[in-house]
Amino acid sequence: MNKASSSGAENAVARARGPRGFGGPVEKAKDKKGTMLRIWRYMKKEKWSLVVSIVFVILSTLLSLCAPYLIGIIVDEYIIPKDMSGTVRMLILLAGIYTASAVFTWLQTFLMVNVSLKTIRVMRQDLFNKFQTLSLRFFDKRAHGELMSRVTNDIDNLNQALSQSVSQIVSTILMASGVIIAMFSLNWVLAIVTLLIIPLMIYTTKKVITYSSSNFIKRQRDLGELNGFIEESISGIEVITLFGKEEQVFTKFSSINHRLRHSARAADTVSGFLGPINNFISTLGLALVIGIGALMTLQGLATVGIIAAFVTYSRQFYRPINQLSNVLNMFQSAIAGAERVFEIMDEKPDLQDKPNALMASSFKGDVEFKQVDFRYSEDKQILKGITFSAKAGETIALVGPTGSGKTTVINLLSRFYDIDSGEIMIDGRNIKDYQMSALRKRIGIVLQDTFLFSGTIMENIRYGRLKATDQEVIEAAKMASAHSFIKHLPEQYDTPITSGGSNLSQGQKQLLAIARAILADSDILILDEATSSIDTRTEIEIQKGLHYLTKGRTSFVIAHRLKTIENADRILVIKDGTIIESGSHMELMGQRGFYYELYDSQFNI
């Protein structure tokens, strides 16, 4: 946002008085035509506003072209001959032209802003909706910050470009050609003199931009490094303090900060030159026009009125030409941004419902994995030939070292990812036969990494079942042993949770996540290290609630404290992506294998 708003203001400044700043190297779109066509498809709904707006641009541009022409005529034919009544008549006409021009300009920008805001709103919503359809595999690959910037920066840039540059480009081109025609019809020699300056202007602008680009890249690099360093040291400040490393960290910070000082100064200074240089060139052009015009007047080849008109024209001419490069740059980076947005919209969700997917209203709860293989990325196989079955109502525990693939098994059952080969069945049907939404609705899950949304405690538990009454929410909280701590919060169930839940301890968050899953009331229950941050005594307390919850439901429990899963109907020991042992607690203890060792090491008091 910051970036967008500052570039907006800078552009506004540029609009008022030649380009003063330069925003850095311009990014180019890969498929400009295609992207523009797609933007057009979004704007189509506002087609008429757009057409009307462009008509207004044309009208107001034409009117502002007329004005200097008229001024020249008034001076030459009315003021100098001292025709007072004629002058007044013409001035009224001029005032009328100015009024109409202002009205058209206003209408045009108003319409354009309207069009662009509406377009942008739809686009932003579409992008967000698209995120909701994409699978976890997509999110695994990308940084959140990068996805965020598509919705914020890229779309904002497009907004700027749509609301400003479209009409600016139209009016500039029109203005330039109009001015050229008018100038040639007035006096072709002076017209050529005026045009002579343009190549010089384009050349220097290009030079300055090339030169400052390299400076900008340096500045961007230093700024990135500094921000990274700041982020790291502020997040790790406790450790820095504890080890007394403040001085050293500061020295390092200082050296990066000074490097940035150097590169920022270079980049900003050079970009500050661009405006004055262009200003200089246009003044030079003006002087040239006046000088030559004056000489021609002396020889009777031009008139004072013509010079007056040329002065106004050349101002009208140089400024837009100066700006055009700015506007085009802005437009170009907006297109590049739009391309990034469309890139996501084009992303094919790799998980989709089959055409005739079943709308399962409830599951009995028979689960079966048959020779399931899975890998997150090409190079590393996570699961190999996983085969097991769970009858309705059974509790299955998954144990094994970190990274062995326990959570993956559960991810696959909820169809967060599709398997590479094999089959996963619920109630005797492949899970791909069910609608994904129906499938997930019937599977309740408590994740290892509990995530809470900003909002109240009540709202967060209710996330499990949106239609639940307050009473039901409180019941669920009681069952999850969360009620006792919620009671002690300042506003109890209405206590707001800050984003990410930083005002609660990890254990408390887990209790809320459990309450949320309890409320969801599903047929199959998954607990992925659901109680890992909860102390053993509270855990026992929750076990009672969970016991009630798992009764009659097929449940999958991942736990690193083996004590909590002793009573499971079956325990699957997973190591390196394969099931190496399976059976009840007693059976596995009897085998004296991996499980036995693991258990022994934990309870060897």
Binding site: A9, A12, V13, A16, I74, V75, I79, M84, T87, A95, A102, W106, V113, L117, R124, F128, N129, Q132, L136, H144, I230, E232, S233, I234, S235, G236, E238, G244, V249, F250, A264, R265, G272, F273, P276, T283, L284, L286, A287, I290, L298, V304, A308, V311, S414, S437, L447, D449, L466, G500, Q508, D535, R537, E539, R561, K563, E566, S601, Q602, F603
Partner: protein
């Protein structure tokens, strides 16, 4: 606004740059202002009288003035940028330094995210605002005032037009600036809501999917998105009117000027050239005003940033090293808590209540208790990350507050619950523990922390470079390095906050053994969730609701502590009948 003023002390060292910048700008403005006058003379004196030489002379002057203007503007760019960038750099130095001195409580009041934003974005915003002010903002008033003065001096006959136009323009612009400032603040709020929603659904995408809440989130997003669009629209509506309205006022003034001028030309009072010059000055005035407005809008937006920066700089640091610390040759590690109370918020619940215990030098103290019972807080009071609200913590019989912070912390090795490592090589991370560390010392510490084995499997072993957040190591590996980093300083006090939880049983046992054998004189505090980790401790504190429910050795506790027995029962599965 006030905050921005307060920050201005930082420009003091660069006051010459800050003065030279606008001064050079004056040159450009003056030259810009001269142009129409010179033009007027070319027309009125040169062309009207057919004076060839005069036209050439003035043409030459015009070019010279253009060159001077260019030089002025470039000088202004150089010095304004210098002043602003140096100003920003210095603020950044001070703010960063200040955040380093923050106590953990200071840090908590801001929050990590906000602090990062302040040091990165807010300072840049203020720096840009200063640059804009020096480089562009001053231009507006100069042009504006200069034009008025010149019109007064050279075209006084047409001055009445300005008397009408200028007040109207000024009122318009002031009104628009104020209004748009208010409206954009609302836009910003709506934007923040959109960003929060977005950020949350991205971070919590698994929860969204697990609970099948895609449609719910879409409709949530629609609400904030529509709100943003609506607010944007009402703000833009105002903004877009500014341009046509000012243009209209100026253009009508031009018509008025021509009318008044024509009358006076008729009467032979003035010449035509003056009318043209007047039109030019009107354009200059308008441009000056417009650019001023836009820059002003941006500068207004930097006020909240300045506020936040000042907030950091003005924060009272609540933990500082004493002026005259009690001289201590070496901290032995005898620790005593006397009636310690602690609460994170001023009127919140106490996390530690009237806590007292005594640990002799070289003792191994285990701490166990339920979630939220205050274990970590207790540990953090020892290196003075927090100060107790009441009561005292003593080391070697001296109040912590009388120990020099540096001496105190350098005697302590701390292993936090979450292993925080820094980007850089493993060796650099080890140097956190001890500055001039030798290869054999590193190897020894790594060996003790059961880290040696995996380090030797990495490319370049100790030169292996960690990414930010050490994302290229597993949780268990990070934890081992974090332990090694604490051990390498051979501390007299070692604090382990549930830090062996990410280790497998065998490694944990190895680390435990190492602590006992290699650090016999070190006082060790060990928070654990498993009784097996602390069973051999000289003393175990059982924490419950911020109080010590019981303390003693394992065997003693099994006899006298019901809480401890309960924990034991849940973990061992054995009923302890023989004690009851």
């Amino acid at each position: 606004m006030k905050s921005l003023q307060k920050l201005l002390v930082y420009i003091k060292p660069y006051k010459w740059f800050a003065i030279l910048g606008p001064l050079f700008m004056c040159v450009e403005v003056a030259m810009d202002l001269l142009q129409p006058t010179m033009m007027q003379h070319v027309i009125d004196t040169g062309i009207a009288n057919g004076n060839h030489a005069y036209v050439i002379k003035l043409g030459f002057f015009m070019i010279v003035s253009a060159v001077l203007g260019l030089l002025g503007a470039m000088g202004s760019a150089i010095y304004s940028t210098k002043a602003a960038v140096y100003f920003g750099t210095d603020i950044r130095q001070d703010v960063f330094r200040k955040t380093e001195q923050f106590s953990s409580r200071n840090h908590d009041t801001f929050g990590t995210g906000k602090l990062i934003t302040i040091v990165t974005n807010d300072i840049t915003t203020v720096q840009n605002a200063v640059r804009m002010t020096l480089f562009i903002l001053v231009r507006g008033p100069f042009l504006f005032v200069g034009s008025i003065v010149i019109v007064w001096l050279t075209a006084r006959e047409l001055f009445p037009i300005l008397l009408i136009a200028i007040p109207i323009l000024s009122i318009c612009i002031i009104w628009f600036s104020v209004k748009s400032g208010q409206l954009f603040q609302k836009v910003q709020e709506a934007m923040d809501k959109v960003n929060t929603k977005l950020q949350e659904t991205l971070a919590g995408i698994r929860v969204v999917k697990a609970f099948n809440r895609e449609e719910f989130e879409k409709s949530n997003f629609k609400t904030v998105n529509d709100m943003l669009t609506k607010r944007n629209f009402s703000a833009e509506q105002i903004i877009v009117s500014l341009m046509p309205i000012t243009m209209f006022v100026v253009n009508i003034a031009i018509v008025g000027g021509m009318w008044l001028g024509a009358i006076q030309v008729n009467q032979g009072v003035i010449q035509v050239g003056m009318i043209l010059a007047f039109i030019n000055y009107l354009h200059i005035i308008m441009n000056g005003l417009m650019s001023m407005t836009h820059v002003l809008m941006q500068i207004t937006r930097s006020f909240p940033s300045a506020d936040r920066i000042i907030q950091v700089l003005d924060t009272h640091i609540d933990i500082e090293s004493p002026q005259q610390p009690t001289p201590v040759s070496e901290i032995r590690g005898e620790i005593e808590f006397r009636n310690v109370d602690y609460s994170y918020s001023k009127n919140g619940e106490y996390v530690l209540k009237n806590l007292s215990f005594h640990a002799k030098s070289g003792e191994k103290i285990g701490i166990i208790g339920s979630t939220g019972s205050g274990k970590t807080t207790l540990l953090k009071l020892i290196p003075r990350l927090y100060d107790p609200d009441s009561g005292t913590v003593l080391i070697d019989g001296i109040d912590l507050k009388n120990h020099s912070l540096e001496a105190l912390r350098s005697a302590i090795g701390f292993v936090p619950q979450k292993a925080t490592l820094f980007s850089g090589t493993i060796e650099e991370n080890m140097q956190y523990g001890k500055e001039h560390v030798t290869a054999s010392e590193m190897e020894e510490a790594a060996e003790l922390a059961a880290a040696s084995e995996f380090i030797h499997k990495l490319d370049g072993t100790y030169d292996y470079t960690l990414m930010q957040g050490a994302t290229n190591l597993s949780g268990g590996q990070k934890q081992r390095l974090s332990i090694a980093r604490a051990l390498i300083r051979k501390p007299n006090i070692l604090l382990l906050d549930d830090s062996t939880s990410a280790l497998d049983a065998k490694s944990e046992a190895a680390v435990q053994r190492a602590l006992k054998e290699e650090f016999p004189n070190t006082t060790v505090f060990l928070i654990a969730s498993k009784i097996s980790s602390i069973i051999d401790c000289d003393q175990i504190l059982v924490l419950e609701d911020g109080m010590i429910e019981a303390s003693g050795t394992h065997d003693e506790l099994l006899m006298k502590s019901s809480v401890y027995r309960e924990i034991y029962r849940t973990q061992s599965g054995k009923e302890i009948l023989n004690y009851e």
